[in-house]
């Protein structure tokens, strides 16, 4: 007995000074936009002052729009960045509760290009997270800003940004009985909207190719609706294939070399694949029902599509050669317009249920269905290149016309995308890359 007590005493004496560490599991996040300070970029000569202010302002707007950042009003700043090449006094930014700080400079290079240099600071951690230089033609200062926004977004969230992208959409104008629908393109933030067609013909369902240089869409030129290709660089458009009947619902393969689309024949539409180089056409479905809205998986191995072969529209998947067709959507209502996420992990689609149109997502095997938005008519989702945000067409009851809206895949941060006039059928471009240099 005494021995046991002695051992216990010895044990306690040893254990006591090395007090065991407390273990804490924090499991309930409090998702909030990150407060970030983005002062004007410091100009090297007075000529760049406007560019410095403009770039900072576009970055603030980009990050705010994402819903994941809360840019702090510059009026609240208590410090002024005058030399971005020395470490900022982070204490002065803690005072205004900034968790991140972007400092930057703009200068004109000898070759006339505008260059922006910036650093992203972790205000509480006290370290520089990233530092980069970006340059472009002075006219492209918005793209410089979008590129910087993308890098900040990636540093903070761990995923690629989507600000240096464009949206192709259908711009609608005129009275309801004589609606003019034009193919239009704009930056992701709604800036630089440009009409690509004049509105002589109805256009629908534009889709980007993987380099964002080519658009496939359906147009009613002549008597039948057919799929056309539009080259953004040259402005040239061509009919895709010469089929006797209507073709519609085109979408590029991930490598950009093929277009998958629907071809109608005597009331039955099936899905076909066209190789853009050889122009060879392969038939993928043969069902007597309407098979349409095909969309490739990012690895190019599978195609998700809609079909009413089971009675009502539902979502099906098949291998890229047409084999292994099977239904994946078993939720309520009618499910249509499936789009495979660029990240591969989800399918976005339109659900028509109980008189409402909803934007939903599910896993590619049909599990984990979630309603992201619900409206009188929310339809036709398109993914941001990072698979994190969706845009879609929303029409409100009462004929106010259609609008483009965006929403985070979590269902948060629903926002209207500003377009000139009414707009529908958005398609998000991939991140714009630079071919040369």
């Amino acid at each position: 007995m005494k021995k046991l007590i002695a051992i216990l005493i010895a044990f306690l004496a040893l254990a006591a000074p090395a007090q065991a560490a407390l273990q804490v599991d924090v499991t309930t996040p409090n998702p909030q936009p990150l407060p970030i300070a983005i002062p004007e970029f410091v100009p090297t000569t007075p000529a760049e002052a406007q560019a410095g202010a403009n770039i900072a302002s576009v970055i603030r707007a980009d990050l705010e729009r994402s819903g994941l950042f809360k840019p702090i009003d510059p009026k609240a700043y208590v410090d002024k960045i005058t030399n971005p090449n020395v470490a900022p006094q982070l204490a002065n930014w803690r005072v205004i509760n900034a968790q991140a700080l972007v400092t930057g400079a703009v200068l004109t290079q000898p070759d006339g290009l505008l260059r922006a240099e910036f650093r992203l600071w972790d205000v509480y951690g006290g370290s520089q997270m990233i530092g980069q230089r970006v340059w472009a033609s002075p006219n492209d200062w918005r793209r410089i800003a979008h590129k910087i926004s993308d890098m900040i977004y990636e540093a903070v969230t761990g995923e690629k940004g989507y600000f240096d992208t464009r949206i192709v959409f259908i711009s609608e104008s005129g009275p309801a009985i004589k609606r003019v629908k034009r193919l239009a393109i704009m930056d992701e933030d709604g800036a630089n909207p440009i009409f690509l067609t004049r509105g002589d013909y109805l256009v629908l369902t534009p889709r980007f190719n993987p380099t964002a240089q080519m658009i496939a869409y359906m147009s009613y030129i002549g008597t039948k609706p057919r799929v056309y290709l539009f080259d953004i660089e040259t402005g040239r458009q061509e009919m895709l294939g010469n089929f006797p009947n209507m073709t519609f619902s085109p979408r590029f393969s991930p490598d950009g070399n093929k277009v998958v689309m629907s071809l109608e024949n005597a009331g039955n539409s099936d899905i076909f694949l066209m190789d853009l180089r050889s122009r060879a056409v392969t038939r993928l479905t043969t069902d007597p029902a309407i098979d349409t809205a095909p969309s490739f998986s990012p690895d190019g191995r599978q195609i998700i599509f809609e079909s009413d072969r089971g009675g009502a529209q539902q979502i099906y998947v098949m291998n890229a050669d047409g084999t292994g067709q099977r239904r994946v959507s078993f939720g309520s209502g009618r499910n249509s317009t499936p789009v495979w996420s660029p990240r591969g992990d989800m399918i976005a689609f339109t659900k028509q249920d109980k008189g409402r149109f909803n934007i939903c997502v599910m896993r590619p095997d049909g599990t984990g269905e979630r309603v992201i938005t619900s409206g009188w008519q929310d339809e036709g989702p398109t993914w941001a290149p990072n698979g994190r945000v969706l845009m879609f067409t929303r029409s409100a009851q009462g004929g106010r016309g259609s609008e483009i809206w965006s929403v985070d895949v979590t269902g948060r941060n629903e926002r209207r995308v500003l377009t000139p006039g009414n707009a529908s059928d958005p398609a998000w471009s991939p991140l714009i890359t630079n071919g040369g240099s």
Binding site: Q19, G125, N139, Q237, L418
Partner: protein, 257 residues
């Protein structure tokens, strides 16, 4: 009279006495020992943070060029130029490029229907949180109760947790929620401020391989620094001076646990 074997009733008395004795001793020793250490701490805390960033990260004199970073070359590329109008087959005069006026429309008024939408969204969110089975959480707590995390310190863990979580906004958009689970070793000063905060070796390795984990480590670090100082019972400092692991785990909240 034969001596009876000690009954179970006697043991706790002895145990209790020993326990009281040693706890008192431990508290006394630690109070005495750590008083000196932490008197100076509040001042030393802020300084190293700034020194580190200047010395290690910036390492430049004023006006020196920025430290060499990856350069991102951007030149004018064709995608930037406004696309010309399409060539139509019909021989018509080329129309002028119409650049629509970019009108900023007023925020749509919140109609009753939109209000409903919002409610529907809220309901949806609430529903989602309900999904993890209640008993799973209880089971966790029991497992945590083994070892250092016992009844004596559970209240401390809860107190710390309730103060940290408010600042914690992890990148919940990650495709694989398990990538967002990160561990830290946190040392606290007696005034509740952070003395040191280091990601575990495992989390460091994961962060260097996975951008989502790196973002999760950054988010957890920001949270821990931002919500300091932590209000915890001063008389039990010995129990909370080190938190290891301080684990950030959003899986349950993301509905995947």
């Amino acid at each position: 009279m034969t001596r009876t074997r000690p009954t179970t009733a006697d043991e706790p008395v002895l145990g209790f006495a020993v326990s009281v004795l040693f706890h008192a001793a431990i508290v006394a020793v630690s109070l005495f020992y750590f008083r000196n250490v932490f008197d100076a701490a509040p001042e030393t805390h802020a300084v190293p943070v700034d020194l580190i960033q200047v010395a290690e990260k910036t390492n430049v004199q004023a006006m020196a060029p920025p430290p060499p970073k990856e350069e991102k070359i951007e030149t004018q590329q064709t995608p930037i130029e406004p696309p010309p109008l399409p060539e139509f087959q019909e021989a018509e005069p080329s129309p002028e490029v119409t650049i629509p006026k970019f009108k900023i429309q007023p925020e749509p008024r919140k109609t009753a229907r939109q209000q409903q939408d919002f409610n529907a969204l809220l309901n949806k969110l609430t529903k989602a949180e309900k999904t993890p089975p209640k008993n799973a959480k209880t089971a966790d707590r029991i497992i945590q109760g083994i070892g250092a995390m016992n009844g004596m310190t559970a209240d401390l863990a809860d107190a710390l947790k309730s103060q940290i979580y408010r600042c914690w906004s992890p990148p919940v958009g990650a495709p694989n929620a398990a990538d967002l689970v990160v561990d830290f070793d946190l040392q606290l000063n007696q005034d509740g401020s952070v003395a040191s905060l280091r990601p575990s070796l495992g989390s460091q390795a994961a962060a260097s391989a996975n951008p989502y984990t790196r973002a999760a480590v950054d988010a957890a670090r920001r949270a821990t620094y931002q919500c300091q100082p932590y209000r915890l019972p001063a008389d039990r400092y010995a129990q909370w001076r080190e938190v290891d692991p301080l684990r950030f785990d959003p899986r349950e909240a993301m509905g995947v646990r």
